[in-house]
């Protein structure tokens, strides 16, 4: 049931690192509300502050100034927060411990849940999660992370999300390490998460093309600020910021002039 309180509510959020001369402002005076069940993409080039913003949402960083709220309250306890808000990162190999089997790690993920399940229930949920990403549970039986390819590992991260069923998913560049075929695949699964589990998804990417397909709303970030936002069609067809125009121009599209020799 969509509820009225926004999932995330940011008011004038600033996040800085360092001090004095070396002060770096990663997120600069950002305000927004994200509603329940929305897919919001945060798009920007390297170093624009998009990952820092994602980490604020995850409760890994606190804002230096301004207020950031999850469902109307401040994020105080990370463990409680992660019960409902989960993530996918860019590099699946660094998310899994190489010394344990994938299955044991998928099952261990349930320790974060307040809801206590029996081992049988956990096992069933993991099986269901694997099936959701089209992997037969027996295919990864006894397998370790290094035995799978990057694309398969990225799917394991998605299987973990399908199994845990968090309310909110923060996906930080989930497709930047995989090739074009796997990318389309991951996109399909993200859509499936939204459709089947009504998940709120925050999708962080530098690829505006990707964001265009999946999101209900786009935020374009540049130097810590949100410079353009709105429905994907509006942002792409009627960009209001030069940054958006630049981002669109930089994509090598097949029907468009790019750079010439």
């Amino acid at each position: 049931m969509p509820n009225e309180t926004p999932i995330f509510s940011a008011k004038n959020v600033v996040r800085t690192f360092g001090s004095g001369k070396k002060l770096v402002t990663a997120v600069d005076d950002v305000s927004f509300d994200i509603a329940d069940g929305e897919i919001v993409s945060i798009v920007g080039g390297s170093g624009c502050g998009k990952s820092v913003l994602a980490k604020i949402m995850l409760g890994l960083y606190e804002p230096s100034k301004g207020s950031f709220q999850y469902e109307g309250h401040k994020i105080t306890n990370q463990k409680d927060h992660w019960d409902e808000v989960q993530f996918i990162f860019q590099d699946p190999f660094s998310c899994f411990n190489q010394f344990f089997t994938i299955r044991s790690q998928l099952e261990a993920a349930f320790k974060i849940k307040k809801e206590k399940l029996t081992p049988q229930q956990i096992s069933d949920r993991v099986d269901a999660g694997l099936m959701a990403v089209n992997v037969a549970p027996k295919d990864i039986e006894g397998k370790y992370p290094f035995e799978l390819s990057g694309g398969q590992m990225q799917r394991m991260l998605l299987a973990r999300i399908f199994a845990l069923r968090p309310k909110v998913l923060i996906a930080d560049e989930p497709t930047s390490m995989v090739d074009a075929c796997v990318r389309a695949n991951i996109l399909d699964y993200l859509m499936k998460l939204k459709e089947e589990l009504q998940m709120t998804i925050i999708f962080v990417t530098h690829d505006i093309g990707l964001a265009y397909y999946v999101s209900d709303r786009l935020f374009i970030m540049h130097e810590g600020k949100i410079v353009d936002q709105g429905k994907p069609d509006d942002v792409i067809l009627k960009p209001t910021s030069p940054v958006t125009v630049q981002l669109l121009e930089d994509i090598p599209e097949i029907h468009k002039e790019w750079i010439k020799r």
Partner: protein, 326 residues
């Protein structure tokens, strides 16, 4: 007809596992490149692109071994030569490679200028550092402009991803190689940085630093802008080869079509065309494969496809490895 700068004849490569079995990563790849040509090679992860790169440099470091075939640079064969000799006489001067991960390619404890000076010292000898630095300044000036001194005096960690990748390209092309092989040089970069790096490669081509290039990537739209010709690789084989326009706008092999179908686009009017993932996985290359390698995933496969081996042959105006290509 000028002599081709690069000739590859029926090149097959395999990895020898520690159990004595072979994994045939590259099978029967043939192509020739003329002076000034840019060839793009595209395919999904694990299709043998990077293995092929090692083969094309004549660099056979166990467990990689050549099975058959020949690679010639300007008429000179690279096969059956020791790694040491290849590194000394071929790499950097004749064939040079631009690696993917710029961060892993640069020694983190040394300044960019010293890493570059090592390349010159290793190939040309001499220890006149002042002269070497002056030469580096001149070359890096081409693409770093007023930032040249800062970049050369920096440690890799002090540079942005784009600067690092451009430094790597600068170092790879220091000795004016005849051929450059770029293995996913922009895959780890965002779109804006990618554009800067491609622009730099074009500048080097225009300046005549090198003039033939093999560009490997999985981004077909990028190849459309970079390459003259494109070869599509699947499970260790070339399945289609034609001009960039032919491959991108009029793909014929079912795999090329599927690859194009999986591409995304933010172009107006493209949103309705949903990217379609290719289901299934490529066949294991550890076993002998009968029939067409794409048959199991092919949307238009016929019953005989899983048994009948397909040969790559001229199909109207380009090479296609499918008898049923329209």
């Amino acid at each position: 007809m000028t002599k081709p700068v690069f000739e590859v004849e029926n090149l097959s490569l395999h990895y020898l596992t520690r159990f004595g079995s072979k994994v045939h990563a590259v099978t029967d790849v043939s192509f020739t490149m003329q002076q000034g040509e840019i060839l793009g090679i595209a395919g999904e992860s694990g299709c043998g692109k990077s293995t092929l790169v090692n083969g094309l440099m004549g660099l056979f470091i166990p467990p990689l071994h050549p099975t058959a075939g020949d690679v010639k640079v300007a008429g000179e064969s690279l096969m059956n030569r020791s790694e040491k000799e290849i590194r000394k006489n071929v790499l950097s001067r004749k064939v040079s490679m631009i690696p993917q991960g710029a961060f892993n390619a640069l020694n983190p404890t040394r300044r960019v200028k010293d890493i570059a000076a090592d390349v010159i010292a290793a190939h040309e000898g001499g220890s006149d550092t002042t002269a070497t630095y002056a030469r580096l300044m001149e070359r890096f000036q081409l693409f770093f402009g007023k930032d040249t001194a800062r970049v050369l005096n920096s440690f890799p960690i002090q540079l942005t991803a784009g600067e690092r990748q451009r430094s790597v390209i600068g170092i790879s092309t220091l000795l004016n190689p005849q051929m450059v092989i770029a293995d996913e040089p922009t895959s780890a970069l965002d779109v804006s940085t990618q554009k800067v790096v491609i622009k730099m490669i074009f500048d080097l081509l225009d300046a005549g630093i090198f003039n033939s290039m093999i560009f490997i990537t999985h981004e077909l739209p990028l190849l459309r802008h970079v390459a003259d010709n494109i070869a599509i690789m699947y499970a260790g084989e070339f399945v289609e080869k034609g001009t960039a326009e032919q491959i991108v706008f009029d793909p014929r092999h079912p795999y090329t079509k599927a690859l194009m179908g999986a591409m995304l686009s933010a172009e107006p009017g493209q949103k309705d065309r949903k990217p379609v993932a290719i289901e299934g996985a490529p066949p294991s290359l550890a076993k002998e494969i009968q029939g067409c390698r794409f048959a199991a995933r092919c949307p238009v496969a016929r019953p005989e496809c899983s048994q009948k081996k397909q040969e790559i042959r001229m199909h109207a105006d380009r090479l296609v490895r499918c008898d049923y290509a329209e």
